[in-house]
């Protein structure tokens, strides 16, 4: 039986035009979103390969005593590539550029973003930056770490820094343009009935993210250019021999890169809010505080960067102020978690694949957030700084929360993107496997780090006593990798074999669910009705014969309903 609110057999955005150029030169935000999605997935596999290289090296592939300089360089290159690819090419564009592009205009009930051509330009810029970046990483043996700290990056390593920095610079512009586009779109293209506080929380999160992208990214752009200028023209900015100050770079770098952490996590939080409302079939608890906490996080994110530098030699007073300010970010983050949990209270909770990712994130972000307290606290951070405790902490936030949020979002909007349902059983097994594998990988790193295991070491001496942690971690990474490939497999399988998806498989009330799956070229055949509360679940009811949800009071011209034929 095919669902009649499915549009795979009708003209939709996927089959309206054909050929390479119809995708490559498209200005359709949905197609651009999908292109970002697959580009990001490709980069994720690349970054993941280097993660496995790191794990295999550390779990005894290479003996401490006999490791050669080439092998150490290969390891240093691997952690640099892993970090740089995962941050600049995977997590930063993941939700905002891939899911955001696909979802934002539809959530607003519009045809496209405010500047569709700028949107296309953003993607092409991203592609150029990505190609430049990846080529450099492969050809040039970049080994500075993703942080590019001088004077190592300016005076002591090869010229691949120059092209890598240029690549990151171009990627930054792509990010700025995307943010600009979303801000204008959200300001100017909301339907008249949708006031700020009637906006879906995903839009609030994307909005807050876009603000950070626009304000912070130029700073990393400038800092990276200064590295370039210093490296090529020997102008003393960061290098002490030339009269510069290496700690100055750390200030500039973290002034962007700490807010960037929230560029990564805020969109994931936005996805979480959608998941918890839809799959509890209940309005989100504390809508306003979730919405405003996104803005609070965006603002606070700019005044905490100095907590990366407690042992760098910055003044004690600065460290103390930054420590106090850092705790301020914890409050809005905690508020969000409590609100998501409260949303479940007296709801009707469906254990779908996206919701399993949502529930995983509550726990993983719980651990990631709470371990942040040890690092915000001055006394304990001095010991934990630059150890695996920090590595584990930020993986819990960036992978366990941001990346799992991306996966949850993919599984949530996949039926809308491709008009197909993903196999329920196998995609849940994949999620649980990733969850278990993730914890097996990073839990041991907390303990190793607390015992003093330093970061970015190509090998640990046999007497250091860190081998057990590393072996457990590598085992976990294998499980995690298997889970992630299985998840990808279920997605690809669904494209051919998946059941056809109805317009609204989950019962979401936000506007993207009020158009057929996959949507027509211009998103909506009729203007979707905006009735106020984006989480008023009573507007849709379950229809078993449709295997999806339909409006309780459909309009006669609603394409999601009008074509319903008795089965």
């Amino acid at each position: 039986m095919t669902s009649s609110t499915n549009a795979l057999d009708r003209t939709n955005y996927l089959n309206a035009t054909k050929g390479f150029m119809s995708w490559f030169w498209t200005i359709d935000h949905k197609r651009l979103g999908l292109m970002y999605l697959w580009s990001v997935v490709g980069c994720f596999i690349l970054g993941g390969m280097f993660a496995m290289k790191i794990r295999l090296t550390l779990s005894g592939d290479v003996d401490f005593a006999s490791q050669t300089a080439e092998q150490m360089n290969a390891y240093n290159n691997a952690f640099t590539v892993h970090g740089a690819v995962m941050i600049f090419l995977v997590i930063i564009p993941s939700i905002p550029a891939a899911l955001g592009n696909f979802v934002v205009p539809m959530m607003l009930g519009t045809k496209d973003v405010a500047f569709p051509k700028l949107n296309r330009f953003s993607y092409h810029l991203w592609l150029i930056g990505a190609i430049l970046f990846v080529t450099t990483l492969f050809v040039g043996n970049l080994d500075t770490g993703w942080t590019f700290y001088p004077p190592y990056s300016t005076g002591y390593t090869d010229v691949s820094v120059i092209t890598a920095v240029l690549g990151a610079f171009i990627l930054g512009f792509s990010s700025i343009f995307t943010g600009l586009n979303f801000i204008v779109t959200i300001h100017k293209m909301r339907p008249p009935q949708m006031t700020w506080f009637k906006m879906p929380l995903f839009l609030w999160a994307i909005y807050a993210t876009a603000v950070i992208q626009i304000l912070a990214t130029p700073v990393i752009g400038i800092s990276l250019l200064l590295i370039l200028v210093e490296k090529t023209m020997q102008i003393g900015i960061f290098t002490p021999e030339l009269g510069g100050d290496p700690v100055f770079f750390q200030h500039l770098f973290w002034f962007y890169s700490h807010p960037a952490v929230y560029i990564m996590i805020l969109p994931g939080m936005g996805v979480m809010s959608e998941l918890f409302a839809t799959f509890s079939r209940k309005p989100i608890f504390g809508y306003k505080s979730i919405a405003l906490s996104s803005i609070a996080i965006a603002i606070f994110s700019f005044i905490v960067w100095g907590h990366h530098m407690f042992v760098s030699g910055q003044s004690e007073l600065m460290s103390i102020i930054f420590s106090a300010l850092t705790f301020s970010v914890a409050v809005p983050s905690a508020i969000k978690v409590f609100n998501w949990i409260a949303t479940m209270y007296k709801g009707s909770i469906a254990f779908t694949t996206p919701m399993l990712y949502g529930l995983s994130i509550i726990w993983l972000f719980g651990i990631g957030g709470l371990t942040g307290l040890f690092l915000a606290t001055l006394g304990t951070d001095v010991h934990f700084h630059d150890t695996y405790f920090v590595v584990a902490h930020f993986h819990y936030v960036m992978v366990g929360s941001a990346l799992f949020g991306f996966l949850g979002g993919i599984f949530y909007w996949w039926p809308k993107m491709y008009g197909r349902m993903v196999d329920n059983k196998w995609s849940k097994i994949a999620c649980i496997m990733s969850f278990v594998g993730f914890n097996m990988t990073f839990m041991p790193q907390f303990i190793g780090g607390a015992h003093g295991m330093p970061r970015r070491y190509a090998a640990y001496g046999p007497s250091a006593g860190f081998d057990g942690y590393n072996e457990a971690s590598t085992l976990g990474a294998m499980v995690l990798m298997t889970g992630l490939f299985l998840a990808l497999g279920t997605l690809l399988w669904s494209l051919k074999k998946g059941k056809k998806a109805p317009a609204n498989p989950w019962g979401g009330v936000t506007l993207e669910w009020q158009t057929p799956s996959p949507p027509p070229e211009h998103n909506f055949e009729i203007d979707p009705p905006v009735v106020g509360d984006p989480y008023d679940m009573s507007l849709f009811e379950w229809k078993g014969e449709e295997e999806g949800f339909l409006p309780v009071n459909p309009r006669p011209d609603d394409p999601c309903v009008a074509n319903v034929q008795p089965s």
Partner: protein
Amino acid sequence: MIPIALLPFLLQHTQGDFWFPSQASRNASSVDELFYFIFYVSLFAFITIVLATIIFAVRYRRSRVGMNPEDSPHHSTKIEIVWSVIPSMFMVVMFWYGFKDYVAVRTIPANAYEIQVKAKKWDWRFVYPEGVESYGGNVDMNDGGEGLVVPMGRPVSVRLESSDVLHSFYVPDFRVKMDAVPGRYNSAWFEATEPGVYPLYCAEYCGTRHSRMLSQVVVKSEEDFQAWLKSQAVDLASLPPAEAGKQLFQKNGCTACHSLTGTPGVGPALDGKYGTTETLADGSTVTIDDNYIRESLLDPNAKIVANFAPSMPSFAAQLSADEISYLIAFIKSLNE
């Protein structure tokens, strides 16, 4: 299953506990106490979160409550204030004790015994006020050094300097860490409380052999420390030149890049090289003689043997004319 996976680690460290290495400095115990305070508060918060999600997920599962849940409040100012203010109060406590610990760690006592710690790629050198120098010593490195030997029960400050890139002085058993930044001096201090040998790591990434920038701290009783200081005060001029050169070779950390066993590292191996002819990157050749060694110490990038990177710093400021002669004598002696 996670606790089972962690079991081996419990047995792994004979010293210290599940979370930490041994407490071997006066500040270590207060850092650990603060850690356990945050840990138990976090554990409580985490268990609450986990229980709430499990209980709600089971109690309100769709197969049990049906598709349309009964109405429940979407907002409660009271409860939102409670769950914002209570965590904030705990965080104020965390900040306060963290601040106090930090001030203690960063305030160097006036009577501290100051040792200069010189970091460079990829070794540590320790220069004592008495003129004695020490280096290396990590048990896994087998570099013949003794490491940072310090007296017990007396505050010791380390003045950190770097002659190339960023490094970081890290002794986990002391809970002490501080970056060595080129172009400025940073300081840290500790008071060792237990005699023993503790690993010293470089915690800031510094290039190829970052993972080999290892040393150790040796804590000795005051008496033993004084005896050690005396034994170290060697007059190089009283030794045979090659022997004096050997000591300089080790003290200056030359072994980090130049092996004496034939396998090239970051730099060429030096055994059996004296008198041989090497090809440079531009195809010209050079004979390894006294003048070439001297030039390579003072201006290392002038003539680099093919296939090696220009990564050696100049030793012009560190070595006297006599010391250069000793080193030449030592390298010559490697041919025998």
